[in-house]
Amino acid sequence: MKLKTFWYFTKEASLGLIRNGIMSFTAVFTITLSLVILGCFYIVMNNFAYFADLAKEVLEIRVYLKEEADPITLQTEILKFSGVKDVKFVSKLDGAKWLEKNLGIKEIFVTEDNPLPDMINIKLAEDAKVKNLVRSINTLEGIEEVEYGKTFIEAMLVIVRIVWIVGISLLALIGLVVLYIIANTIKLTVIARRKEIEIMKLVGATDWFIRWPFLLEGIFLGLVSSVVTAVILSKFYVFIGQYIKQIAPFIPLVNAGELINQLVMIVIASGIIFGIIGSVFSIKKFLRV
């Protein structure tokens, strides 16, 4: 693209935005609002997911073995299940030692007639389906009992899933809203200039030559909205983060810097993409001359 042509496009795009000043402003405002809502959900979603991960890290499934069970075979069997990250064998002797150390009971079990069972500790992978996993483990030979932080993990997983579903639907919905706003705003400029477009087509301008100014307009609307959104969200998140740290320091939060970087990129990219798609839609009809 020639420099002169590029300037022409930029000039035309800014003219369009200025001519529809109030509409452009309203569009930026509404798109920003939508993106902020989207961003908040993204932040909440991420924190829930993060929390759930941490919970999984901490929580483990404990499998108590029968006296006659073969721990080596069982470990390899369990490792084969999906959702198992790692297994660790804790022998009855280790168990007794642990008790001894932590409870201060001396030399009662570290003998031949130790009543403690052997145990296998399972660390869960992120995508673990705890219920299914427990069921599968129970079908193995030599299992005495399976123990896990049942209700807590399950509740956590359900919440994460709900948040995801709501988040994705919201994403789709807000995406459509933003597209609609951009397409409509651009459509106004397009209609204001349909005569110009018709003449351009008749004197032999290429479709892309006609399209570019409108594309730039859409991109500009998306870009400005998303930059404003990014600023608002990052300020907001840092602020909330500090607040939560003060009143409830035990709640783990995703590191602000990392999340905001991601968020800014996602928001800006979607702003631009929405801008492009929105404007392409709104001029399509008018190019058939």
Partner: protein, 264 residues
Amino acid sequence: MTVTSVIVRLIGEESWRKCRNYKTKTTAFLFEIGVKIILIQFVGVSKVYNNGIKALQNIDLKINRGEFIFLVGQSGAGKTTFMKMIIRRELPSKGQIFIGRNCLNKMKEKEVPVFRRNIGFIFQDFKLLSNKTVFENVAFALEVIEATKTEIQKQVPQVLDLVGLKNKEKLFPSELSGGEQQRVSLARAIVNRPLILLADEPTGNLDPDTAWGLMDLLLEINKRGTTIIMATHNKAVVDQLQRRVIALEEGKIVRDEAKGVYEV
């Protein structure tokens, strides 16, 4: 059979029938020495619009380079449709159209813009952009085909001079008379030196004197080699100038005379 007619058959008609390119330079030369070259050819062309209206029916027609043609007929006879087909605004429902070395039926969508740069047009309602000055309106046609600034600065004043509007280039269309506005639109149509000029009732909104002023300009442009097709209801102009007249009636050619009049 003369030598010239043989040449025409070879490079003109035949090559168009096959939709094949022929050398533009050669045709320009032949045109200079007075050989007739077919520029526009309709072969069995019909146009049925989506609403079922048959705007054109079975049109067979040849137009040579450099001709000045009046297209007459009542409203709804198909004159505008005929011109829209030349500029490939509409495609034929049946038949084939050849313009120069292009076969419009087979032309790819992305070749259309460049093709259209060979054709100028003016309309009854001028179609000027009211927020641009006279100069900008004319320059617009060059800008959108990405001409350089130097080209624009050179060609726009030249063509405004030709249509007699040199001292009005800074005015806006609303500040001009109807005749002047039509001359701006004519300047825009010819600024990139088109091979063909289509004029759809260009004198329709002009008083007789102004209309004659415009006709003089069109004749001058025609003299410089541009083929002109003009749809008109202006009986006086058609009768006086005695050019080729093609009369349409309900989408059919009912008359095609070399030195025709408006009505028989």
